[in-house]
Amino acid sequence: MNVFRVAPPPRSPWHGRPARLVDVEPEAPGVATYRFDCGGPFHFAPGQFNMLHLPGIGAAAISISSAPDAATVGHTVRAVGNVTHALARLRPGAGVFLRGPWGKPWPLDALCDRDVVLVAGGVGLASLRSAIVAVGRRRGDFGRIRLLVGGRAPADLLYAREYPAWVRADIDIRTIVDRPAAGWPGPAGLVTDLLAGLDFDPRRTSLLCCGPEPMMRAVAAAGRARGLAATDIFLSLERNMACAAGLCGLCQFGPTFVCRDGPVFSHDRIAPFLAVRHL
């Protein structure tokens, strides 16, 4: 141990790394992946997020969806608000600030040798994508890996072009939509229907879930009913936040700061609070 090691100075939540928009890849209606060049490596763990800051417009908390070692930082974003609509108007070359990475990641190291069920709803798959790529690279460290994807319509399913590569990495992918279009070969319904039909051993399985909160509540409840321990279910919550560092107080959920204690929580930590309306 180096006793002379100097602690790093505290980080400022308001100052990020300058980044340039490299390209924009449409993913689904209203959804695109924006890739940014930070001029060097950007270290993060799957499940963490950035505050994507457009000066003069605002900042929004967006999970990082690129591979941990990719040359660019990727954010898959649905244009729903002020910042995300302004983002959608940016041209390649435009400058932004990436404040981050922040938050607790998916607990991939703790899942060694376990079976993993990944459950995504809508753009929730954006937070799981970097985990899927990371797991695929260390495929031998894990048991069975199943990915359950739910969306409103077939056109809303993200990253479908990458499914073949994920299947080659021995990831079993099942999809479901609740508004099937003509020619949709898969089932119609909710992602919980896929979970109900999935065969897994609850003692050796961990479940990672990201999607709308009602969907995550339903998935967690279904997982618990199937015998999964609350400590083996992980949810990624979404809240408004200004700082992402536990200073602004906006993202509080019960006694937690979603930015700092989450966004990835084990179900045992938050189950009593998830059950309370308007918390």
């Binding site: 505290p10 400022s12 000066p55 003069g56 006694p255 308007h278 918390l279």
Partner: protein
């Protein structure tokens, strides 16, 4: 901040000679702020001389009520807390936290304009010193720090006061935050008759006291004097714990903090939240006057050219409908859910987050609530009908 124990015994300073303290602070480059009468209340504002202090004024406070009255016997600091606290200066209601100017297709950061002078605050009470420590825990973590708060905090000089009077809204004794001042002050004064007993709590305070000694006469307290000085806040504390009304002084409030975290988190669905909401206007006054409430939003403010952008921090209140709104709407659409958020955060969640309560017992939220909602009574009501299995 460096040292909390008193350095040396208190020394007597004649009241008019308190001017030497103000002058020494100014000479050391400080902006000096202290209690002053303004707009019917005692607020914190710039103080140039001893006569600016509110000698002869007392404040009567109760739920939803604040009244000043003249009392010629009242000392400079016999009022208690007004609507302002250190928060208004260290974490102001609006301030820039970063500025950027356009640079080609990107942006470049501009340094912020620093405060012109470090701040010195007179008359800081035990509850507000405790509030300062609570805000420090929020804004001065080892891993993350807010640079504007950090800068102001580093230059802050505190002249504390040991209370010898409590309002009916005070309950610092329940929160172990007063009425004695400390730790955390640079200098502390105790008012006795026509003198102050003044003592240093830090080396910075001792250095200032040395500068005071060149301008005024300081007389060391005898051991008996020191005992009498110490007994001023202790006697007040004993009376607060006794909860007896005295002639001219209503009994102070108190809050039973036993098991309070689990009591509140175990009663999130208690019907009493809706009963409070029947009275609560969701105005947010309690969060504005609270010396520890720290929630804030940050707005990007572009100038007219669009080539300069300022990140402006603004106090946010969990009582507003748009607090923490997302594209699906605010998370707490009802007043009951918003009051519950405020109270459970202050008294329960804070313990998880920072290891202490977020309440110092200063009572401001009771006084400045337009309908007089009293958190001590609301907690007692939940405790009396504890719905936990």
């Amino acid at each position: 901040m460096s040292c909390s124990a008193a350095i040396g015994p208190p020394q007597w300073l004649a009241k008019p000679d308190f001017q030497a303290v103000i002058d020494a602070l100014v000479a050391a480059g400080h902006r000096v702020v202290g209690p002053r009468v303004a707009a019917g209340a005692i607020v914190l504002d710039d103080v140039a001389c001893v006569a600016d202090l509110p000698a002869g004024w007392l404040d009567d406070q109760d739920g939803g009520s604040y009244r000043l009255r003249r009392d010629e016997a009242a000392g400079c600091f016999d009022h208690v807390v007004g609507p302002h606290s250190l928060k208004n200066f260290l974490f102001p209601a609006r301030e820039p936290v970063a500025t950027f100017i356009r640079d080609g297709a990107g942006w470049r950061e501009q340094p912020l304009v620093p405060d012109p002078a470090p701040l010195a605050v007179l008359g800081v009470r035990g509850c507000d010193l405790a509030a300062l420590a609570i805000q420090d825990a929020v804004f001065l973590r080892a891993d993350v720090a807010d640079s504007t708060y950090r800068g102001r905090r580093a230059g802050l000089f505190i002249v504390a006061v040991n209370c010898r009077r409590a309002a009916a809204t005070c309950f610092c004794h329940s929160m172990q935050c007063g009425p004695a001042a400390g730790p955390g002050f640079d200098l502390a004064v105790t008012e006795i008759d026509d003198r102050f007993a003044i003592e240093a709590g830090t080396t910075k305070g001792a250095a200032l006291l040395a500068a005071v000694a060149t301008r005024a006469t300081l007389t060391p307290c005898t051991p008996a004097d020191t005992a009498a000085v110490r007994d001023v806040p202790q006697a007040l504390g004993r009376w607060m714990h006794s909860r007896q009304a005295m002639p001219g002084a209503a009994a102070p409030r108190s809050l039973d903090t036993t098991d309070i975290r689990d009591l509140l988190f175990g009663n999130l669905e208690h019907p009493h939240w809706a009963a409070i909401a029947d009275r609560c206007l969701a105005c947010g006054n309690c969060t504005l006057v609270c010396p520890t409430c720290f929630c804030h939003s940050v707005e990007d403010v572009p100038d007219l050219s669009g080539d300069r952008a300022t990140l402006e921090r603004r106090w946010a209140s969990c009582f507003t409908l748009d607090h923490a709104h997302m594209h699906g709407g605010g998370p707490r659409p009802t007043t009951a859910s918003r009051y519950r958020q405020w109270l459970t955060h202050k008294l329960a969640g804070w313990i998880d987050q920072f290891g202490t309560s977020g309440c110092t017992g200063c009572g401001r939220c009771i006084t400045w609530c337009p309908v007089g909602i009293d958190l001590t009574a609301e907690v007692a009501a939940i405790r009396a009908a504890d719905a936990r299995p």
